[in-house]
Symmetry: C2
Subunit: 329 residues, 2 copies
């Protein structure tokens, strides 16, 4: 295992220390490294809290700040955070208008966030994201997995909460954005969890995984490496096919790198995917390309499409000031 670490026990702690020191204008580290919270809380605002296993950075800690999350709970690598982390985070950021948990659909995360919600003294609502069209169930999830589309939910609902939306409205908006969002990923290489020390899976030099999950879980099938255009074509077909007749109008296209793919290739995939989507009569009017929901150093990428409407587009465009997403301020 080749990693820039001092020991597998201290990876998460040292990484969080570095993150919070580098972005001390935006975030504060919670006690015992339980959570990262927004430095400037906004009285009366619905508080957005997310979290999950680490190794997907910048998700979620990189999305804490004005216009997005109020707190994020980092678990160990690819391991759910504990209910007491979520409870501590919620109590630290609750401003009297309730707390909305944004949870990716994995059994551990869903169960722990449910327990935290039951233990909470304040009002809590939850949105579970499940945007991955690759498989209907997986090793870690009942039902579809929540992947890069979670970023879109957090950005859009974060803007609505910042603008004063109440808890029920934020929850309904989050569910609506999730319902209008579809993703699919592919991997060219595996990733190595520090505590495991060996690659999660293996792929031959001429193979790729079509429909991979963000922990390296199996997707639809293992195939021979294909040209970018054919890969994009299969991903776009899966995503748009899943939308069915609803797919029209304007859309957001997110090309998300898994951590080990060069930026050049991500923009090349964007070029191929965008042309394929626009050929189906959907106009890409919002774009994001980069490493946002990663799987450590896995090579590969995912495509995410969100069908926009006026409200979703307006909240996407609204100012955001986090470590990983920043515009308008």
């Amino acid at each position: 295992m080749k990693k820039l670490i001092n020991g597998v026990e201290t990876v998460l702690r040292e990484s969080l220390d570095g993150f919070c020191a580098a972005h001390s204008d935006i975030v504060v580290l919670g006690e015992d490294h339980k959570f990262v919270r927004r430095r400037a809380l906004k009285p009366g605002k619905v508080a957005l809290v997310s979290g999950g296993g680490s190794g997907h950075e910048p998700l979620h800690v990189g999305f804490v700040g004005h216009g997005m999350l109020d707190a994020a709970c980092p678990g160990q690598v690819f391991t759910s955070p504990t209910p007491d982390q979520m409870l501590a985070a919620a109590e630290a950021v609750d401003q009297g208008a309730g707390v909305l948990y944004v949870v990716k659909n994995y059994e551990g995360d869903v169960m722990n966030f449910e327990m935290a919600a039951e233990m909470a003294s304040g009002t809590v609502a939850t949105v579970v994201t499940n945007d991955d069209v690759a498989v209907e169930a997986s090793s870690f999830s009942t039902g579809r997995r929540g992947v890069a589309g979670t970023l879109v939910v957090e950005k859009v609902v974060g803007a609505a909460a910042e603008a004063g939306a109440d808890l029920a409205s934020c929850q309904a908006l989050g569910e609506r954005v999730n319902a209008r969002t579809r993703s699919m990923g592919i991997a060219l290489t595996s990733c190595t969890v520090p505590a495991a020390g060996t690659p999660t899976f293996s792929l031959a030099e001429d193979e790729m995984e079509m429909g991979v999950g963000i922990h390296g879980e199996p997707g639809r099938r293992r195939v021979k490496l294909m040209p970018a255009r054919e890969i994009a074509d299969e991903m776009v077909a899966a995503i748009l096919g899943d939308f069915g007749a609803d797919a029209s109008g304007e859309a957001l296209l997110l090309v998300n790198g898994f951590g080990g793919t060069p930026t050049m290739e991500l923009y090349l995939m964007y070029d191929n995917a965008r042309k394929l989507i626009e050929r189906r009569g959907i106009r890409i009017t919002r774009s994001l390309v980069g490493n946002y929901v990663t799987s450590l150093e896995m090579a590969g990428c995912s495509l995410t499409v969100t069908l926009l409407d006026e409200e979703i587009a307006r909240h996407w465009d609204a100012p955001v000031h986090t470590a990983a997403l920043r515009w308008g301020m």
Copy 2:
């Protein structure tokens, strides 16, 4: 070779098409893919033009926009752009106040930018960056290599130009920032140039390259993989030792990923490096952590330290609106 491409001949073109489509609010693609220029040019402003081999994205095309570059010329992967690209870019963005070329110190780039400057009809000045303390000369350079510190020069001079500084002032400021900037890099794995098809170099499973260049060129020596703290210690010692007695006051710390290292590890390196630097009495008051000056999918990172003064800090903080760096607007 495992890459998301359609063919080695079209990688650069398709990637640039995707980049310019994704950021069409900020940039315009020049004729024949010769350059990427800022969409909204500012009359009377000194024009900043940079460029170099591709494969280092987001450098330089990702830094085109308000407050940074006016144009960037992308060569083929790890290959200098041609003088006619630089000339075309300069002519497209010259607003009557002259053009400043920012050039990384590699023989091919320096020679081609010199030829372009000689062919220019307008006034041209040049700043050559050479911030890499690892080696005094390399396979591609006479004298020190220009690496991630180039980003700092482009940001600071870009802000000065935006604020109305004239050509001589921009050039002097660029040279001053370069003189106050030092970098060093390390690699855990190689990278693969698409046209070559095989890794540029090879490292055993327990080896790393100390002082690596951004094309995978050799550094100081090949050593056994060390803990992050020891790696950071050697890099910080090399950088601060090179500054000598001048190293005091406030500094900017950039931890730059080479493309294949997870964000978690970059923040862990930041944590280790920051503590080591502050122990020497230098205060880190500006920070940047991420993949900014990459070497395709190489695993590893570089540290860059810029000694700040009031002018440099002010220009660093000034608003910037590019694909890869954005704040204050």
